[in-house]
């Protein structure tokens, strides 16, 4: 009985098992495919409980049959190595394929086939699928908040200008490269602030003044995260240097600051900025809500930034410090000319990740009443003319945020790879 070769596949009966196995797998996948896409049931003659498991069992037998080591067939070997190494793996493979087949038709029909995009009112949505009309009608609100429609060009221009100035470093000549750090840390934030202040807020040069309460949507996300990033970077640098200082008082103040902000959730910080912070200011001193929120997030993210920069400072070999000191450099000279240029280059990916976290955290400003994208969704959701489209709104927002964050994380990963080879 040791030569029971029908179920034990090897190279001697490769033709037979290959044909049988492929046939069985094809049957099993075809059955699920037809079942989910065309609602055809090939094996409807079986009782329902059996027919539910049949494709899986047939597929398992098929995959088991074609699992031949060193078959000599290149394609078969690659297949076996990648999806069919053991029974357990084969089962998982089949389950994943079945789940994908089962999930595609309903989501496809909901998102595209049965969806509506024409028309301007809720009544245009007659299909059973998604109502993209809702997104289309509210699109400007989701992007620009309550900002007046005819003034949207101001936000667009401001963003284009800021981005354009940001790419300045790419075109800088060798001579200018020395000043790039100065440009990005000091000059660029100031210019960007002035652009956004004068262009978006207005009130000067014949531009209509628009209060920050009207700002909103995705553009507010960008404004908040951009300002928080450019302000929290210098703060983080000072704190990181402070934490590595030899002076006990400076060190403990930095440690206390960093650990405090890292220990509390952002939402309580925002609560603090909106209800507790006004109590701490002089009575006749008014500060805009948006400014308070930006300050709060900057203070919060500064602590995280500091830890990232400290990582860069710590990864420099001690020899760099010793060499700089032996040349007679003082503390500031040593840090500005030797330590920081090397350390900051190392922490660029880390800063990117911090920025990513920042962008993902900005929807939280919704809890203090600023209508950022999540806030606009909440507003639109409760609008009596457009009830019942929460799903579409959240999927739309999720897609937008996913694209932004995924692109950024890939970019930061590329930077990491780039600087890894550099050292």
């Amino acid at each position: 009985m040791s030569k029971f070769t029908f179920l034990k596949s090897d190279r001697s009966n490769i033709q037979l098992v290959l044909i049988t196995g492929t046939f069985l797998i094809t049957i099993s996948i075809l059955d699920v495919f037809l079942n989910s896409f065309f609602r055809l049931n090939l094996i409807s003659f079986l009782p329902s409980k059996v027919s539910f498991l049949t494709p899986f069992i047939i597929g398992m037998i098929g995959l088991n049959l074609i699992r031949i080591e060193y078959s000599g067939n290149k394609f078969l070997d690659i297949l076996n190595k990648n999806i069919n190494t053991s029974n357990f793996n084969a089962a998982l493979t089949l389950i994943i394929i079945f789940v994908i087949f089962k999930a595609i038709p309903p989501s496809l029909s909901w998102m595209i086939l049965d969806a509506n995009i024409s028309g301007d009112t809720k009544e245009a949505c007659t299909g059973t699928g998604a109502c993209w009309t809702y997104i289309k009608v509210w699109f400007r609100r989701f992007m620009y908040g309550m900002y007046p429609n005819e003034q949207h060009w101001r936000i667009n221009t401001a963003f284009l200008l800021v981005i354009g100035l940001g790419t300045f470093g790419l075109f800088a000549t060798e001579k200018m490269k020395k000043f790039l750090a100065l440009y990005y840390v000091v000059i660029y934030p100031i210019i960007a602030f002035l652009i956004i202040y004068y262009l978006i807020s207005g009130g000067y040069f014949g531009l209509e003044w628009i209060e920050t309460g009207a700002w909103g949507g995705l553009s507010l996300t960008f404004i908040v995260s951009f300002f928080c990033l450019i302000f929290c970077f210098p703060l983080g640098m000072i704190l990181a240097l402070g934490r590595r200082s030899n002076l006990p008082a400076v060190r403990y103040i930095s440690i206390g600051y960093i650990e405090f902000w890292r220990g509390v959730p952002l939402i309580t910080v925002l609560f603090m900025s909106s209800v507790m912070f006004p109590m701490f200011l002089p009575e006749d001193f008014f500060m805009d809500k948006l400014v308070r929120v930006i300050i709060a997030i900057t203070l919060f993210e500064g602590a995280y930034c500091a830890e990232v920069i400290r990582g860069g400072l710590q990864s420099l070999p001690r020899g760099q410090y010793d060499a700089a000191k032996s040349l007679g450099m003082g503390y500031w000279k040593m840090h500005i000319f030797v330590i920081l240029p090397q350390a900051l280059k190392l922490v660029i990916p880390g800063i990117c990740n911090t920025f990513l976290a920042l962008v993902k955290d900005t929807p939280l400003i919704f809890v203090v009443g600023l209508a950022e994208l999540a806030g606009m969704l909440a507003l639109a959701k409760t609008n009596p003319k457009w009830l019942g489209f929460a799903m579409e709104g959240y999927i739309f927002a999720a897609i937008i945020f996913w694209i932004i964050c995924y692109a950024m994380s890939k970019y930061s990963y590329n930077l990491e790879e780039k600087y890894k080879t550099d050292r």
């Binding site: 509390v264 309580t268 209800v275 909440a378």
Partner: protein
């Protein structure tokens, strides 16, 4: 030596200060006029300040980093520190002064006396008995328990999902590897708040009404109003718990004995199976002999009015809790998965090969060689993720789950108007949770770190 004496002096002052404040200082009542008049808001926290200064001095006395080994002039050593300290103190004084002026103008007294007042608001969901007549401090405790419940549930689920996905990312199976990678990329790059909103407002709203729900696993119902489960009704629960405790102690002893046996004589005994058997048999015995019994209270559909139905009896898990736990665990699991993957990949291939060449079975290689080393890499970043999850659980406020932020920093603050007290209590609570977990994990890291001989 000078520093150490100073440190103990500060500790003593801190304790004395705390003692005076609790017993004579009236900080828990509203009569604060004759005590700490001008700088009241900041003086409440002086014991903390004294303790931290004492701690700093104690640490510095061990390091002995003083002027001598700083290697420069006296003025360069002291002047920056003096300037920094005075700037910080000035900022604090400025804020305190303003706060005092503002509160005086609005006629608010600073103090924690309100904590004993009647809260007079209700909570939708609580683990302990709570109603509107209870004081604010009890509302705080109940809300804190709700927060901890979400955090613990989230940590359990995110660990399970994260470990599975992390291992799946290293699977030889192409499909599994890539689905795991896509899971990570997908859930990691969407803001958590949006995910919570999605589950709560979109996904869970698509569930059936209570009267249309079909039972899941026979006795549980997943409806738009939450998840209804049968409740356990125990007789002699304490005996059962003691038996579990006894089983755990027995398992610890057996592990200790097995480790000793392995180190001294090289014998291996199947510790895992023995522990499993003990863990099942000891509690099972209490059912037979100890008089423990278990009944189920199955939820029953009840009609409130013509169109309104709920399930009565059993445990009702509110949809807020479901949405929050789902979103938190799915989101944090992506980070945990990356930590697990990095940990396993961080073990060099040579370790595995060396272990295999010694004749260990693949299971033993994983258990005795790979995992102990991988855990050292995995645990610190994973702890950070647990901390993040705990802090992120405060997003509960956005979907009205009664957690610390919503109940205390939301409702209680609106009712009492005591912004400074309430926000600082909330922040200090989160801060102490974070610091406690961090301290615990540092201790654990020290315990498992490589002890070089």
């Amino acid at each position: 030596m000078k520093f150490r004496i100073l440190a103990y002096l500060f500790f003593f002052v801190g304790i004395a200060d705390l003692f005076i404040k609790i017993f004579y200082g009236n900080i828990f009542s509203d009569l604060t006029e004759d005590y700490y008049e001008i700088a009241n808001p900041i003086l409440v926290f002086t014991p903390v300040l004294f303790f931290s200064i004492g701690g700093i001095f104690l640490k510095e006395s061990k390091v002995s980093l003083t002027l001598e080994n700083f290697g420069t002039s006296r003025i360069k050593y002291y002047s920056p520190q003096f300037i920094c300290l005075s700037v910080v103190v000035l900022i604090f004084l400025f804020f305190t002064f303003n706060a005092q002026m503002n509160m005086e103008n609005r006629g608010i007294d600073f103090g924690f006396g309100f904590l004993t007042q009647e809260a007079s608001f209700d909570m939708q969901f609580s683990l302990m008995d709570y109603d509107g007549q209870d004081p604010y401090w009890w509302a705080y405790v109940v809300a804190l328990l709700n927060t901890l419940l979400v955090a613990v549930l989230g940590i359990i689920f995110c660990t399970i999902i994260g470990v599975i996905v992390g291992i799946a990312r290293l699977s030889p199976n192409f499909l599994i590897r890539n689905s795991a990678a896509w899971y990570v990329e997908f859930f990691r790059n969407i803001p958590l708040l949006l995910q919570i909103f999605f589950w709560y407002y979109a996904a869970l709203r698509a569930l059936p009404l209570p009267q249309d729900a079909s039972p899941l696993f026979g006795v549980t119902y997943l409806t738009i109003k939450g998840y209804y489960m049968p409740a356990f009704i125990w007789n002699n629960l304490n005996i059962f718990l003691y038996s579990i405790l006894a089983a755990i102690i027995a398992i610890i002893f057996i592990r200790y004995y097995a480790n000793k046996l392995r180190d001294n004589e090289g014998k291996q005994i199947p510790v895992f199976y023995i522990s499993l058997i003990i863990l099942f048999i000891l509690p099972a015995l209490t059912f037979l002999a100890g008089g423990v019994s278990l009944n189920f209270e199955i939820p029953v559909l009840k009609q409130l009015s013509a169109t309104s139905f709920i399930y009565d009896g059993g445990i009702a898990v509110p949809p807020e809790l479901i949405a929050l736990t789902l979103a938190l665990s799915l989101y944090t699991a992506t980070f945990v998965a990356e930590c697990v993957r990095a940990g396993i990949q961080g073990i060099s291939k040579g370790q595995k090969e060396a272990a295999a060449s010694l004749g260990l079975t693949p299971n033993q290689v994983l258990k005795l060689v790979i995992m102990p080393q991988a855990l050292r890499i995995i645990i610190p970043p994973t702890t950070n993720q647990y901390l993040n999850l705990t802090k992120n659980s405060s997003l509960a406020a956005a979907i009205a789950y009664p957690d610390l932020v919503l109940v205390f920093a939301g409702t209680a603050l609106m009712q009492t108007g005591r912004a400074i007290e309430i926000v600082s209590i909330t922040m200090l609570t989160y801060l102490s949770i974070s610091l406690a977990i961090a301290a615990l994990m540092n201790w654990y890291n020290k315990l498992i770190e490589i002890k070089e001989k």
